[in-house]
Amino acid sequence: MRWLAIALLSAATTTARADDAIVASAGEPPPPRHLVYVEALGKGGLYGIGYEYAMTERLGVGAATSYSNLSEHQVFTMSPYLHAQIFNRGRHSLFAEVGGILAYSRIASPVENWDGMSEWGGGGFATLGWQYVRGPIVLRTSVGVAVGEGGGAPMTGIAFGVRP
């Protein structure tokens, strides 16, 4: 976690340079700041959708939400997060994300005379990932750790998005 915080801080401070901010070169349209995406297995949920806003070329903020219903066990998650590019080469980049996760879990009773269970939970996550960009298309995959009321656990995710 510590190395990731340092990497994010480093990325954030390097993006403070004026020439690194999202500005268009003369005659070129400004790079898109908005990213919408779908994601599988990321940020605490099974599958979800997300939106991200690029504050600078390397730093963005976003939020993802997910909903799943597996055998009458429903899980809803909401995850605000910070995204930072650590390393960039051509269409490829290495990125890190940290954020929080708020989750609601509800198990419907499959039998009589038991009410099922429901619970709210909260926690955080930190991931390291690889991004590939081609035109407006963005593909990301990441691995990391989620920590919450149930302890810590590995997590992985894959996202497919567009920058309209």
């Binding site: 297995l41 940020k43 605490g44 949920g45 099974l46 597996l70 055998s71 009458e72 066990h73 899980v75 998650t77 996760i101 989750a103 879990s105 198990i107 419907a108 009773s109 499959p110 039998v111 005379n113 038991w114 009410d115 269970m117 619970e119 709210w120 939970g121 909260g122 926690g123 996550f125 989620a146 920590v147 919450g148 009321e149 149930g150 302890g151 810590g152 656990a153 590995p154 997590m155």
Partner: protein
């Protein structure tokens, strides 16, 4: 449709039947009953019940050695076994080997034959006579590498008292809702005064099509299958003995309570785990007061 789409990835998990009713064990094949126990002393009121999944204990000498190495388990009056096997070419089951060595009677039911020819089963070992032995095939969960699951039950006769005891082994890699569907007929169709124990395979996670554990979801919410199962069992008036956050799985790094012992209408006096090596499960035990009724 969803199952068809996901079939290429993994088998869909779903309950496909209701299993069977509790059936008299003397009527069915595959059930083995031991000779009457050799009673060592007049029965008292405290009865020690243990439960152990013997997975990985593939040598009969090993099974005996590990039981003798224990203190709480070796002194149990009733031992519920899961995955107690008979290997090809062997004259008797692990259950019979243990029962003979510990001077206990037993009721053993074969549950599943592995490709290697090993026949696994569930059993009840007892220092006191067993009566009304019954076997139940649990509702079948159709999934990747699925197999039929069974429960075996018997009345343990302790002097003037008796208590119904059941040894149960549930499926792995299923959702908690399917786990409860599989368990419910077995525990609701028992006498009011009952002990239920075994390997409930309550790995903490949700499962995506019996293949992918959703570990991060569980980490955030902290809603483990073991705790949900305890809540469900409480609705059937069963009291659990091993806390949901206790580890009964021996593999380092995986803290999960797979096993438990529950009592209904019988007071629990003490309970714990004993760290006996050999299996990938730690054995568990509890003491009950068979003379008292709640």
């Amino acid at each position: 449709m969803k199952c068809a789409l996901l079939l290429a990835l993994a088998a869909c998990s779903q309950i496909t039947d209701d299993g069977t009713p509790w059936e008299d064990a003397s009527m069915g094949a595959g059930t083995e009953l031991g000779p009457p126990p050799t009673l060592r002393a007049a029965p008292g009121c405290t009865l020690r019940v243990a439960s152990w999944n013997l997975h990985l204990l593939d040598n009969p000498a090993n099974v005996l050695e590990h039981f003798r190495a224990s203190t709480m388990i070796a002194n149990a009056d009733i031992i519920l076994l899961q995955e107690t096997a008979q290997y090809p070419g062997e004259a008797q089951t692990r259950t019979a080997t243990l029962g003979t060595d510990l001077a206990m009677t037993w009721a053993h039911t074969a549950s599943h034959e592995l490709r290697s020819g090993v026949i696994q089963g569930n059993a009840i070992l007892s220092r006191y006579p067993l009566e009304n032995i019954a076997v139940k095939r649990l509702p079948h969960v159709d999934q990747l590498l699925s197999q039929d699951r069974f429960a075996i039950a018997a009345d343990v006769v302790v002097g003037d008292h008796r208590v119904r005891v059941a040894s149960i082994h549930l499926d792995v890699r299923i959702q908690i809702t399917d786990r409860i569907r599989q368990l419910d007929p077995a525990v609701t169709q028992l006498d009011e005064r009952a002990i239920v124990g075994g390997d409930f395979n309550t790995a903490p996670w949700q499962w995506l099509e019996s293949l992918v554990p959703l570990t991060s979801t569980e980490a955030i919410v902290g809603m483990e299958q073991a705790a949900v199962l305890d809540d469900y069992m409480a609705s059937r008036r069963y009291v659990g003995s091993i806390p949901a956050d206790t580890n009964t799985f021996t593999l380092p790094g995986f803290g999960m309570r797979l096993d438990n012992l529950y009592a209904r209408a019988v007071p629990i006096l003490a309970a714990d785990i004993e760290y006996v090596e050999g299996s990938d499960h730690w054995p568990i035990w509890f003491d009950i007061d068979v003379c008292e009724e709640l």
